[in-house]
Structure formats: C-alpha cells, structure tokens
Amino acid sequence: MRRLAKYVFPVCLIIIGIVFAVLGVFEFGFWDEAKGPMGGFYPTLVSILLIAMSIVCLTLARDDKDPKFPVQNLLVILAVLAIFCCTFLIGMFPSIFLCLVIWLRKIEKYSWRFSVIFALVTVLVFYGVFGKWLAISFPNGLLGDLIFG
C-alpha cells in the first residue's frame, strides 16, 4: 500500500483537477461575451495545468523511491486527533495537558513526576501567552460549560 502512494497521490490530484475544471466550466462559468472571464476561468486553467503535470508525475512515478511512512509517525496524528475530540468534552487546555502527560509517560518513558510538571508548565505558558496576553477565549468543552456555566 505504501509503495502505491507515489501513484495514488498524482491520481488524486488528477481527480481533484477534473472536479475543479468541471465545476469551473459548468457551474461558475468560463467566459461571458459581455463580462469577460468568469469565476471558473482561472480555476479551470489551473486545473488543466494540474492535470497535465500530475499525468507527467504519474508516468515518472516508477522511477521515484518508495516512501516509508513509518507507523510511529501516525502517533502524532492520533495525538492531535485526540486533542481535537477531547476539546469538545473537557476543553482545550485540559486536553493538551492530558495528551502531554500521556505522551511523555507512555511514549517517551519519562517519569510521572517529570511528565506532569513538564505538561503543567507548558500548558501554563500557553495559557499565559494565548489566553491572557493575546486574550483569546479557548473552548471549555461540555464539562467546562457545565462547571463554569
């Protein structure tokens, strides 16, 4: 599957290019005799370029090295996905705190004490810079809304 990625990616771009070109011509309009270039004019031209170059990439993909996509790299994606989902439940800063503690303890094998202190300091710095200094209001989540109203 990983080996196929070098072929799948240009194929996806060709499909995206076709979708943008079709929408450009048929939905947003390419050219109007009175008004000149319409909303679909530019995206259609770019789509044609994208399709053409993606076809070249596809034909040359055989010579490319196979990508690695190590499984451990997925952990970062899963961690951010977890923060994203947990934010709706417990709010952003508690989610980040939990994620940092679990990450440091379980993946990097730091001690509980170090993990908790490091996560706490990081979250406090974020809160100070973004929450207080830049005055951005971060989501409290369902739990936070229940507690703080």
């Binding site: 240009p10 290019g17 993606s54 070249v56 990439c57 010579d63 980040i96 990097e108 830049l134």
Partner: protein, 501 residues
C-alpha cells in the same frame, strides 16, 4: 540621497521602545527556533505568526522580519555543533562548520558564522535601500498584463528551483493556486468551490494552512529522528568564541564577495537564501583559502553564511516593492502583511512610507541586535541543542493546535491545520515541495485578479501578453522555466532506459 533621508525617517519609526522590544523579542525567538534542528525558518515564522496579533502592523512585521533574520543566524548553530542544519540555507554551513568544530574550535566557528551573517546582511540591506524604491518606481509602470506575467514567472521559477523534481514543484504550485480559489471570487464577489460549507465560503484560512503544511507535517516527520539526534555535552564560554585578527582577515573578503552575490540572488524572484548559500560557496571555491574548503575553513563558513543572510535581506526588495516573495518564508511574511491590511507593491513606499522605511530601518537594527544577542547567548543556545527531539515533538505539536485555534477563534482552524499537516507530510515523503504551495496560496489571488483584468482588456486574446515588451520578455522566460524541467525529466528517463538496454 533621498533614499538615505527616508532611511533616517525610517529609523525614527523603528527606534520607538515598542518596535525595539519587538525586534529584540523576534531576534531571541528566531535564534532559538533557528538553532533547533529541523524546524527551519518557514515553520518557525509560521508557528510564531499568531503571536504578532497583539501588535500594530508595523511592530508586528518588524518582529517577524527580525525573527526571519535571526533564524538565518540561528540555523548555523546546529549545523556547526551537531552537523544537522537548522534550516535549508545552513546545509552548506555543515561542510566547513562541523569540521571546524571537530578541530576543537566550535566557538570560533559559531562566531565566524555570526560575523559573516552580519556583514552579508549589512551589504544586503544597503543594496535594498537603493534597489527597493527603484523597483517600486519600475513597478508603477506595470499594468495588469505585466503583473500577471511577472507573478506567473515568479510562481513557476520557484517551483523550478526547489526540490529534486521541478515538475513536482509546478504540481504543488497548481495545488496552492486551486486552494486559493476556494471561497469568495475576489473579482465578482460571489462564493465558489465552497462545497456547501459555510466555513469554506470565507476561503481556507492562511495561517492554519501554513502551520499545518510546514509545521505540523514537520513534527510528524520528526518522529523518525527522535532517537537519532546526537546529544551535545560540551559547554562553551565567551573566551572560546574570540577570533584573532588573522581569523577576521580571513573571513572579511569571502563575506563581502558572498554578500554582494547573495543580495543579487535574493532580489531575483524565486531564488532564496538556500540557493544563495550554494552559489556563494561554489563561487568561493574559485579563490585561494588557507585551508581547503570542506575541511573546516573559515572562508567556507563565511561565504555561505554571508550569502544566505544577504539573500534574506535582498528578498525584501521584490517583496516590498512588487509584492513578490523570494521564498516560502517571504510568502508567509507577505501573508502576514496582507492580514494587517497592507498590500505590498509599487505604492507601498508612497502610501505607507512609515511602514516601508520603518521596516527597512528595523532590519538594520535587527542585524545589529541579532549579532549582539547571538554572541551573548552562544552558551545558552548551545544548551538549547541539548533539548531532546523527544521533548520538542509534543510541545511543537501542541503549539500547532493552540496557534491554529487562536487565529480563527474556532476549531475549524485546528481542523484545517490537521488536514494540511497530513497532506504536507504525505507530500514531503513523496518529495513534493510544500513551500511552493504556500507561495502560490499567497500570490494566486493577486495573480487571478490581474490575469482576468488582462483578458478583459484583450477580449480574451492571450496575444496581449506578447504585445508589450516587458510582459513579452517575462512570458518567454516563463515558457523556458515551464519547458525545461519537462525536457530535463524526459531526457533523464530516455538516458536511463537506454542505459538499461
């Protein structure tokens, strides 16, 4: 003379307490981010962009300019001490920096790189002072036809210059152009390509996209290296960094030569600091040096460090005067300017002289401040390199989340960052450059507006691009840039298939 007077006026703007503080803040952050291996100036500037929202536009861009500049200084730290370049331009610094450190002179190698960066930056800034306004005056003669041709050339040439495979650069440029079309049609004011989503009606938010594409994707990739970075154990003291008069004599001429070449490369649209470092190092090889280049020669460090800083300074000329960034980082700076309602271009020097000259003056200050700070913090920055990547990954990952949320005030920003990060990571693994996509996202809306105006004027005839001399030259250059990589790739393939037979 008039330019120098305007520069003095710029200093009156830049020398306010708020602006000096912003420049110092940017310099410190830039040095730290630059010193951290593998982050790079593009990701660094993108990650720190949300912090500037607190400031007014002039102060904000002074901080970002200073940060960008200091990043160039900082990139050399990990290159010299652990043989891992902090960013692209520092790749060449490893060739002589690391061997010099291994010879027992790491402090002198760091200080050589700092002084050479300062000299290169100074030369670059002086040239920009004179070329910037002249470029702007030239730009005033540009109509939509010339602008469209110039932007087309800028986007294509960058795609061509970056990466091993120029075709992939063009593909990602086209991807960026399509992303930029999502949301409101700037010419007609009607939504398009929003696929029924009210969020997408406003377009894809720039900062989360950039944070994801270059920051988050980088963190995903760092997981592979998290156990491999060699630790630094040695400590450095100020006395270890002192250069002798002879050392200074050795670095001076290469720095001046590279400063001049680097600035010229920086002014060219599409050729950034990395190209400058490569070219200056290759050029320096033609001259005699006390030790052969590549074995820890001061001349080698001076050439690439001066060259990349001069290019970073030179890139401000087309950025401010024509609105054309010379690199992905320049594109992020341009995006930042646009968010604050400033449209770089020929009229910037006329309509916002306080901003344009204040920024140029602040870059002089940033150069000096960064030199002073980089010397003061050498022992501390060396300690920064002892921070394990294993700790950097979760911190940068969470900065990506908080930063993306803070610019949109919604989880939509985080979602965009997340998706862009995954796509960016896949692109990086498949050797598709991401910085060309960022550049295209910034330039595409201006390009589309000018292109459509040009076609409206001509009644749909593309011949208009070849009827005016400036646009004709630019279009010929564009076709050469477009055709060369395809011919090159085909030729390579033909040769390899013949070889196989």
């Amino acid at each position: 003379m008039e330019n120098l007077q305007m520069l003095m006026y710029g200093f009156t703007v830049a020398l306010s307490l708020e602006n000096i503080s912003a420049a110092i803040f940017g310099a410190v952050l830039g040095l730290i981010v630059g010193a951290l291996p593998g982050i790079g100036s593009l990701a660094g500037v993108a990650l720190l962009l949300p912090l500037t929202y607190k400031f007014n536009p002039t102060t904000a861009i002074i901080m970002l300019g200073s940060l960008y500049y200091a990043n160039m200084f900082g990139g050399a730290f990990s290159a010299i001490l652990i043989n891992i370049p902090g960013d692209g331009p520092a790749v060449m610094t490893t060739l002589d920096g690391f061997p010099m450190a291994q010879k027992g002179r790491p402090g002198q190698a760091l200080f050589t790189s700092n002084i050479a960066s300062f000299i290169g930056g100074l030369i670059g800034m002086f040239i920009v002072i004179f070329t910037g306004p002249s470029l702007a005056r030239l730009g005033l003669n540009f109509g939509p036809v010339e602008m469209a041709a110039l932007l087309l050339l800028a986007m294509t040439s960058i795609g061509w210059l970056l990466g091993e495979n120029p075709i992939k650069g063009i593909v990602t440029t086209a991807m960026g152009m399509l992303i930029a079309t999502m949301g409101m049609d700037a010419v007609r004011g009607v939504p398009r390509y929003y696929f029924g989503s009210i969020y997408l009606m406003g377009g894809v938010p720039f900062v989360p996209l950039v944070i994801g594409m270059v920051g988050f994707s980088r963190v995903i990739g760092l997981m592979t290296d998290r156990k491999s970075a060699p630790p630094i154990t040695e400590r450095l003291h100020y006395r270890d960094c002192m250069l002798t008069a002879h050392d200074f004599k050795r670095l001076l001429m290469p720095s001046i030569r590279a400063g001049l070449i680097g600035t010229f490369i920086g002014i060219l649209p599409g050729a950034g600091a990395t190209t400058a470092a490569f070219v200056c190092y290759a050029f320096e090889k033609r001259f005699k040096s006390e030790e052969p280049l590549g074995t820890g020669a001061i001349e080698g460090i001076a050439a690439c460090e001066s060259g990349n800083n001069a290019a970073a300074a030179g890139a401000f000329a087309p950025l401010l005067a024509l609105g054309i960034p010379g690199s992905g980082t320049g594109a992020v700076l341009l995006g930042g300017l646009m968010m604050w309602g400033l449209n770089p271009g020929p009229l910037l020097f006329t309509n916002h002289p306080d901003f344009a000259w204040g920024l140029l003056a602040s870059l002089f200050l940033a150069n000096l401040i960064t030199l002073a700070i980089s010397w003061v913090v050498i022992p501390i920055l060396v300690q920064v390199l002892t921070v394990p990547i294993a700790l950097m990954i979760p911190v940068i990952m969470t900065i990506c989340v908080v930063g993306s949320y803070s610019v949109t005030n919604s989880m939509y920003g985080v979602l965009i960052m997340f998706i862009a990060g995954i796509i960016g990571y896949i692109m990086t693994e498949l050797k598709y450059p991401t910085s060309t996509l960022v550049l295209a996202v910034v330039l595409s809306p201006i390009f589309e507006t000018d292109l459509r105006r040009a076609f409206l004027i001509s009644g749909g005839s593309p011949a208009i691009f070849f009827q005016k001399p400036i646009s004709c030259v630019l279009m010929i250059a564009f076709f050469i840039f477009l055709a060369l990589p395809i011919i090159k790739a085909m030729w390579k393939r033909m040769r390899s298939s013949k070889g196989g037979v």
